[in-house]
């Protein structure tokens, strides 16, 4: 079932086109990886889906309804967002942060009730941080903070979660923790995830774990390739879009069937002067 439908989308400010002619359908229960070089417009496309930025042409439909027609609270009951890195301000308690995921279900002049707190605790439990509920979130590590952001998105109880490079500031282990959490969300809870990432291997990781994974490759102001990880992340595409020579590796890990990874070898035509 098509959950998100993007039709002929274009975003431009002044006369600079960030992306144009983007057409995309994302199905329910799918994990969609948005790949592309720096500055190709991944974040802007996510912003337009969220309604933070407005398309200059085209439209985005969510569950059959144009996202422009959603009221601000209504959209947040359909789509949650996990930022690339969260700017911490005041040392709120972890649970207070996750409770904010209930904003869309709470009136402007009221606060979350006991049922909302239960949902927040449940979300923290899913990401494995219930034990830290009472801690100031400013004391958490980058990886834990990102898990709190995911818990907050879960508390929104939305069918779709958008993630903007959720692992970009994390160490080796916490990157895996976040990826594993994402796999659980899609597999166990049926959440549809759209994730911008810099790492082609993320797509393979999800694919290797049996998720319904598709990849969109953005370049030159448009979404150039859409398909399965295997179809899109090929040695040829990586070479032509990133100008990186890469090698596809396929190997067996324990009982898994063939696990695929893309191995970067070297950059091509780099300016050395």
């Amino acid at each position: 079932m098509t959950l998100i439908k993007i039709m002929d989308a274009e975003f431009a400010y002044d006369k600079n086109i960030v992306f144009t002619g983007v057409n995309l359908q994302i199905n329910s229960g799918e994990l969609f990886c948005l790949l592309g070089p720096n500055g190709c417009g991944k974040t802007t496309l996510l912003d337009c889906m969220l309604g933070v930025s407005k398309l200059s042409r085209g439209s985005i439909y969510l569950a059959g309804k144009n996202t422009c027609d959603f009221a601000s609270g209504e959209l947040a009951r359909h789509m949650a967002y996990v930022p690339q890195s969260h700017n911490q301000t005041f040392p709120y308690k972890v649970l207070d942060i996750v409770k904010m995921g209930r904003t869309a279900y709470t009136g402007r002049f009221s606060a979350p009730v006991a049922a909302d707190v239960d949902i927040a605790r449940e979300s923290l439990k899913i990401v494995g941080l219930l034990g830290m509920a009472g801690r100031p979130y400013t004391q958490l590590s980058g990886g834990e903070t990102q898990l709190v952001m995911i818990a907050r998105a879960l508390a929104q109880k939305t069918p779709v979660i958008l993630m903007d490079e959720p692992t970009s500031h994390l160490d080796f282990k916490h990157e895996m923790v976040v990826l594993e959490t994402i796999v659980e969300l899609v597999r166990n809870m049926g959440v549809t995830i759209v994730m911008a990432t810099h790492f082609p291997n993320h797509a393979f990781y999800f694919d290797n774990n049996g998720l319904d994974t598709r990849v969109g490759l953005m370049h030159n102001h448009s979404l150039q390739k859409i398909g399965t990880a295997e179809q899109v992340i090929t040695e040829e595409n990586i070479e032509s879009i990133y100008r990186v020579q890469a090698k596809m590796l396929c190997y067996d890990v324990e009982q898994h069937q063939a696990v695929k990874q893309l191995m970067p070898i070297k950059t091509l035509d780099r300016n050395n002067d």
Binding site: D47, L50, G51, V52, S72, G73, E74, L75, A76, R77, M79, A80, Y81, P83, H86, N87, Q88, T89, F90, P91, Y92, K93, D96, M100, G101, T103, A104, T106, R108, F109, S110, A111, P112, P136, T138, Q139, R152, Q156, L162
Partner: protein, 338 residues
């Protein structure tokens, strides 16, 4: 924080300002014994027919009492607006004056003092209206790009504040140096000395509306402090909610400033005291800031009446007490969560 501790903190925050108000009835230049203060209070409360001299009755009920009450609501209004702005601007160093309300009100008062010769019925509305105009201008500068990014609002506040500061200087320059200039200078330093019940009534309504509005929307300030993009994705109509918080905080601050002059530091420091007591959740922080501000301003006003024979202007004392305290706070918070 355990529930019992939370409960006692709440009790303390309610009682402290009330105790301080009661205490202030005993403090002042006019010699009146504690014994007599009790008698005066009792005679009105229990409506006894006693032989208390009128001067004592007037002193307690018409001078010290309204002054203490006004001090409490002004302090509370400044602190609650400061706490709301700190959340809204995601910055712990912001105070209630960030959008220029103090300088605007200061100019409004100076102008009224020159034109209408310090008639209270002209000074109050003029200070109030120019305080509101200053914030409106800052807000419009912040909206140049049709959104209200925090940095643009802060810039708007800086610009508007400095323009009104210059206008205040101009007013001082053209003012009559024997009559008007001292009045302007004293007004700008802040004082509760002339407080009467009518002041409380005049300033009370806008202050009450502002404070009630901030109390109502206080949990949303948590969400707004996540930044515009996250607040939007969590389901907040960012522009509308920001406008409500700014309008409420401005009503409260402008009303406070127009009856008491410019009193600095309360709106910056009292929210931090409240943070240490109840944490950063605005659901608790906003009411706690009101209590802390009410307590602090009555305390400082009492100090001002005790330590010098002629009353020291409030703005001087809040800064003298607040400055060293703020240094200590900075040192302490570096070791704390942020």
């Amino acid at each position: 924080m355990s529930p019992t501790k939370q409960k006692w903190t709440g009790v303390l925050l309610v009682l402290a300002p009330l105790v301080m108000i009661c205490l202030s009835l005993f403090i002042g230049r006019y010699p009146i014994t504690a014994d007599m203060v009790f008698k005066v209070l009792a005679s009105r409360v229990l409506s006894l027919n006693s032989t208390i001299p009128d001067v004592y009755d007037t002193l307690i009920w018409e001078i010290r009492m309204p002054r203490a009450i006004l001090g409490a609501v002004v302090g509370g209004a400044l602190a609650i607006s400061g706490a709301a702005f700190q959340g809204l601007f995601r910055n712990p160093l912001v105070s209630s004056g960030i959008l220029g309300v103090s300088h605007g009100a200061g100019f409004g008062a100076s102008m009224a003092i020159i034109i209408f010769h310090n008639n209270a019925w002209a000074v109050y509305p003029s200070a109030f209206i120019f305080g509101m105009i200053a914030v409106l201008l800052s807000y419009m500068i912040g909206r140049i790009y049709n959104t209200t990014p925090t940095i643009m609002l802060v810039l708007g506040g800086v610009i508007v504040s400095s323009v009104f500061a210059a206008l205040i200087s101009f007013a001082k320059y053209v003012a009559d140096p024997y009559e008007q200039l001292p009045t302007i200078v004293f007004w700008l330093m802040g004082s509760l000395a002339s407080a009467r019940y009518q002041d409380i009534l005049i300033a009370g309504l806008p202050m009450m509306v502002g404070v009630a509005g901030l109390l109502a929307i206080r949990w949303r300030i948590n969400v707004l402090s996540m930044g515009d993009k996250e607040a939007h994705s969590l389901g907040v109509n960012v522009a509308a909610d920001k406008a409500i918080v700014i309008a409420c905080a401005t009503l409260a601050t402008a009303a406070a400033v127009c009856v008491s002059g410019i009193i600095g530091w309360v709106g910056l420091i009292m929210p931090h005291i409240a943070r240490m007591m109840v944490g950063n959740d605005n659901r608790l922080l906003i009411p706690a800031s009101f209590a802390a501000g009410a307590f602090f301003l009555v305390l400082v006003d009492n100090l001002g009446r005790i330590i010098t024979s002629s009353e020291m202007p409030l703005g001087i004392l809040t800064a003298l007490v607040g400055g060293p305290f703020f240094v200590w706070l900075l040192k302490k918070t570096r070791a704390g969560g942020w």
